[in-house]
């Protein structure tokens, strides 16, 4: 599943996204070319409106590019129909959203096992995996709570659990800490880092919080839909 033949986890080639808008079309992403390696921990930084969400949506196959191409582990997305794209998301990509976006009618446990259910993973295995993960990221004992009975930080950890439980090659997180206070943000980052470290899951997350950027191993700074800066970062706090 995970491509180790030297293919990048993510590759984009001259990616453009133009939204037809009045009075003038919005060029949200302008000629983005980049490569992200397997197991990397990448922050996409930039002010509001710089195109972070659009880039993540393009990489995740939630939006089709106006021009250019995206590869996920060697698979070019433009050649897939919506159904195959959904399948690819299910099997290879995990999503974390700014607003947590857990399903309110499902318990924490049910939210976390959601993608496993869609994939038809048997009950025993689902339980084992979610339980192990909940223990790993400090959600033990909260399994039966509905999202409305969880704090923001807890909800976002359930969302991270939902994203990584299927061991996807890539996790895309759009401003995962934007709704959290700094302590909770740091804790969430720690969880993500640990999962990145222990499962070699590739993380790409957007943020405009400098303290979050510092935790990345690679920092890509966007301005007006273009890469303004792209550098490796020495982690300020080493991953445990």
């Amino acid at each position: 599943m995970i491509d180790s033949s030297g293919t990048a986890a993510v590759r984009t080639d001259d990616l453009w996204k133009v939204y037809p808008q009045e009075p003038a079309p919005v060029q949200a992403v302008r000629g983005l070319t980049l490569e992200i390696e397997h197991g990397d921990f990448v922050a996409m930084a930039g002010p509001s409106g710089s195109g972070k969400t659009t880039v993540l949506n393009l990489i995740g196959g939630l939006t089709r590019p106006t021009r250019g191409r995206v590869w996920i582990g060697g698979q070019e997305l433009g050649s897939l129909d919506d159904k195959k794209l959904a399948r690819l998301r299910l099997e290879r990509i995990g999503f974390v959203f700014q607003a947590y976006n857990l399903l309110p009618v499902l318990s924490a446990f049910e939210n976390a096992e959601f993608t496993l259910l869609l994939r038809g993973v048997p009950h025993e295995e689902r339980r084992a995996r979610v339980e192990a993960l909940f223990k790993e990221i400090g959600l033990e004992g909260l399994e039966d709570r509905r999202p409305s009975k969880l704090s923001g930080g807890q909800q976002q950890r359930v969302a991270v659990a939902r994203a990584v439980v299927g061991e996807p090659a890539l996790v895309l997180a759009d401003e995962p800490t934007a709704n959290l206070d700094s302590t909770t943000s740091a804790a969430l980052l720690e969880v993500m880092e640990r999962l990145n470290h222990e499962h070699r899951t590739t993380f790409v997350f957007s943020t405009h919080d400098p303290r979050v950027m510092e935790r990345a191993h690679r920092l890509i700074r966007l301005v007006d839909g273009r890469i303004d800066e792209d550098r490796r970062v020495e982690p300020a706090v080493p991953a445990r």
């Binding site: 939630l62 959904a86 999503f95 309110p104 009618v105 049910e110 993608t115």
Partner: protein
């Protein structure tokens, strides 16, 4: 399947999210069911009343004749021809059939009735009083005196004819009728009864006497009758029963069994009209329900736009998104069905057992040659409720289709951004 189970669970819990709305939608559907079933029951009751009223006074629900008797009604065309039949045997055979409740033999003749100064043309009807009571209500309308007995020269006439002749019970009447041997039969009869059916045509023209007396007057053997009138087990199904009876009787002697639908075609048309009215009413009720349910479901899915987008982003197919909305419709339909049946059956059974009698308000009336009871009667078969149940369920599912389609078409990226 685990995945299917997940979508049922999501559908079920989503209905529980806004209990008030679910309750209202369910009740609306259940009331739709109630009104559809009661409407159908009421029109079925009216149909049954129509059939019974239109047949029970005189014609019965089916009639057996010699196959060449109708439409001329020649007096020579008795069942079994000139030789007649073994009437007792024929009646016994008919009553042995499971769908026949009762059978009554009859003979008809045209003649004159004189009393005192006056003479009136009359339709002479010979009956077996003991049997006639089980087939028609004619003898129940005797308002003065009693029914004529067999073996004695007795006659009964309608209240209108009595008025025109200026006679009363106890007077003597002369009956004159062409006989089968070509002579003119005439004899003196005692007027023993006067009937008042409320239907002027009948009250002015029928003279009723015992079958054997009319046979004697018309110089006919005891085996000669024109007609056997029948009541059947299910009046609404008379056409099919009549056909089965025709085959059952065979062709010796050649007979024809006519259902009331053929004898009173205008009555059959009224019933057909009511059936189609029924259908239209049910259609309207459920069409209204479709839009009502679709409306609440559209609101419900609209509120969850972002959730559908999340589910799509996580890798669900559009089909799964549509599925859970349709499941919601199915669960809603099932809930409504349970509620609808639970509140409909008691009402239906109660109404059927004790139909509100409006006599005090409107009184009976005569229409289309029959007396009408002003009763709001409800009839039910399995068909109405079962078809309505099916319609209710389809309504809920149908109403979910459009919202399901809408939900499946939500673009995930825009919905996530709240655009």
């Amino acid at each position: 399947m685990a995945e299917d189970h997940l979508w049922w669970r999501v559908a079920w819990r989503n209905l529980g999210r806004n209990r008030g709305r679910t309750l209202i939608t369910t009740s609306a559907l259940a009331f739709g069911y109630l009104s559809a079933v009661v409407m159908v029951g009421l029109t079925d009751g009216m149909s049954a009343e129509l059939v019974e009223n239109g047949t029970r006074l005189l014609i019965g629900q089916a009639q057996v004749h010699a196959s060449d008797y109708l439409p001329e009604r020649s007096m020579y065309r008795t069942i079994g021809g000139q030789n007649g039949v073994d009437v007792a045997d024929l009646l016994e055979r008919l009553e042995a059939h499971p769908d026949v409740r009762a059978a009554a033999p009859r003979l008809y003749g045209g003649g004159l009735v004189s009393g005192g100064e006056h003479t009136e043309a009359a339709l002479l009807l010979g009956i077996a009083p003991g049997r006639e009571r089980h087939v028609t209500t004619l003898l129940g309308h005797v308002t003065e005196g009693r029914a004529p007995a067999s073996g004695s020269r007795e006659v009964m006439i309608g209240v209108e004819m009595a008025r025109q002749l200026g006679v009363g019970v106890g007077d003597e009447l002369v009956l004159v009728a062409p006989a089968a041997d070509g002579s003119m039969g005439n004899d003196l009869f005692a007027l023993v009864g006067i009937f008042d059916t409320g239907t002027p045509g009948i009250d002015a023209s029928y003279a009723v006497l015992a079958l054997d007396e009319l046979q004697r007057l018309m110089a006919m053997d005891p085996g000669r009758i024109h007609e056997v009138a029948l009541t059947v087990s299910r009046p609404v199904d008379t056409p099919a029963i009549a056909e089965a009876l025709g085959a059952y009787l065979g062709s010796d002697p050649p007979t024809e069994v006519r259902p009331w639908t053929a004898l009173r075609p205008e009555l059959a048309e009224s019933v057909a009209l009511m059936d189609s009215m029924n259908f239209i009413i049910v259609l309207i009720i459920f069409a209204m329900a479709v839009f009502g349910v679709a409306n609440t479901m559209i609101i419900g899915t609209f509120e969850r736009t972002r959730e559908f987008a999340v589910v799509r982003a996580l890798g669900s197919s559009t089909g799964n998104v549509a599925r859970t909305v349709v499941y919601e419709g199915i669960v809603l339909g099932a809930l409504a069905l349970v509620a609808g049946v639970a509140m409909t059956w008691p009402i239906l059974v109660w109404w059927h057992r004790a139909p509100p009698d409006l006599s005090a308000l409107v009184g009976g009336f005569s229409w289309s040659g029959a007396q009408w009871r002003p009763v709001l009667r409800v009839e039910y078969s399995l068909e109405g409720p079962v078809l309505s149940a099916l319609a209710l369920f389809l309504t809920a599912v149908l109403a979910a289709l459009y919202p399901a389609w809408k939900a499946a078409r939500i673009p995930p990226a825009d919905a996530l951004a709240g655009r």
